[in-house]
Amino acid sequence: MTGGQIIFLLVTLFTLGSGFMVVTTRNLVHAALWLVSTLFGVAVTYALLNATFLAVVQVVVYIGAIAILFIFAVMLTRKDMRDQGPQMNPNWWLGALLSVLVFVGLFLLLQGWSGLSTTVADLPVGFDSISELGNALVSPDAYVLPFEVASVLLVAALVGAVYVAFNRK
């Protein structure tokens, strides 16, 4: 076991534990706060993968915007702060069985793939992933069109969200 592997396992345990709490906690505000810690674990995973821009965007966009939006929505949709009644479906065990089956299926699929034991190559000397990513996002030879389509989608979705949630009297 090298140091990198131990760090990876600790981050994984932290993330999966928080993720499990997200789907099992009764109190939804607590579930949203567990989501924040899961997202933080995923950000650390990006940092371990040298995807520094993704790690920062994960913290800013996911934790800073999406998780806060969830907390707002939880607070806007409850009459009192207690959660009464069951929080799970009566047939929740079917969902558990199906997700275990999906995991086993993915695991078996991965077992049969030859590229699985690929080890990581060192980054090229002087490689700057952020400037490469910025160039790729705006270069006409690369991904400028999907980038623009994503921004149009975001504007359309936010205008639509305001329209849907608007309170007409």
Partner: protein
């Protein structure tokens, strides 16, 4: 160092946890929380394939992950707006009780 398979199995576990949340929670907001976990699992895979790919200067994996970020933000905004709108009309966020479109 860490082989690629560890990242993929980690992502598969996170995806399964999110799937369990989507399938078995009653509250519509909790279902959206499960969808967020599944999207994050996909993004881990994309970043891992970028890092372990043949050519690390090929940024497709990271660009794809950024597009997933944008789509996730759009999905959460619309989803939560719908939940709040339904709550205003029906006074419930339990997915089983939202059956207005059932004939």
């Amino acid at each position: 160092m860490v082989p690629l398979s560890w990242y993929l199995i980690f992502a598969a576990l996170l995806f399964s946890i999110g799937l369990f949340g989507v399938l078995s929670r009653r509250n519509a907001i909790a279902i959206l929380l499960g969808i967020e976990l599944m999207l994050n699992a996909v993004n881990i895979n994309l970043a891992a394939f970028w890092r372990y790919g043949q050519d690390v200067t090929q940024m497709t994996g990271q660009v794809f992950a950024i597009i997933v970020f944008a789509v996730a933000a759009a999905e959460v905004a619309v989803g939560l707006a719908l939940v709040i709108s339904v709550y205003r009309r029906r006074n419930t966020v339990v997915a089983d009780d939202i059956n207005m479109m059932k004939w």
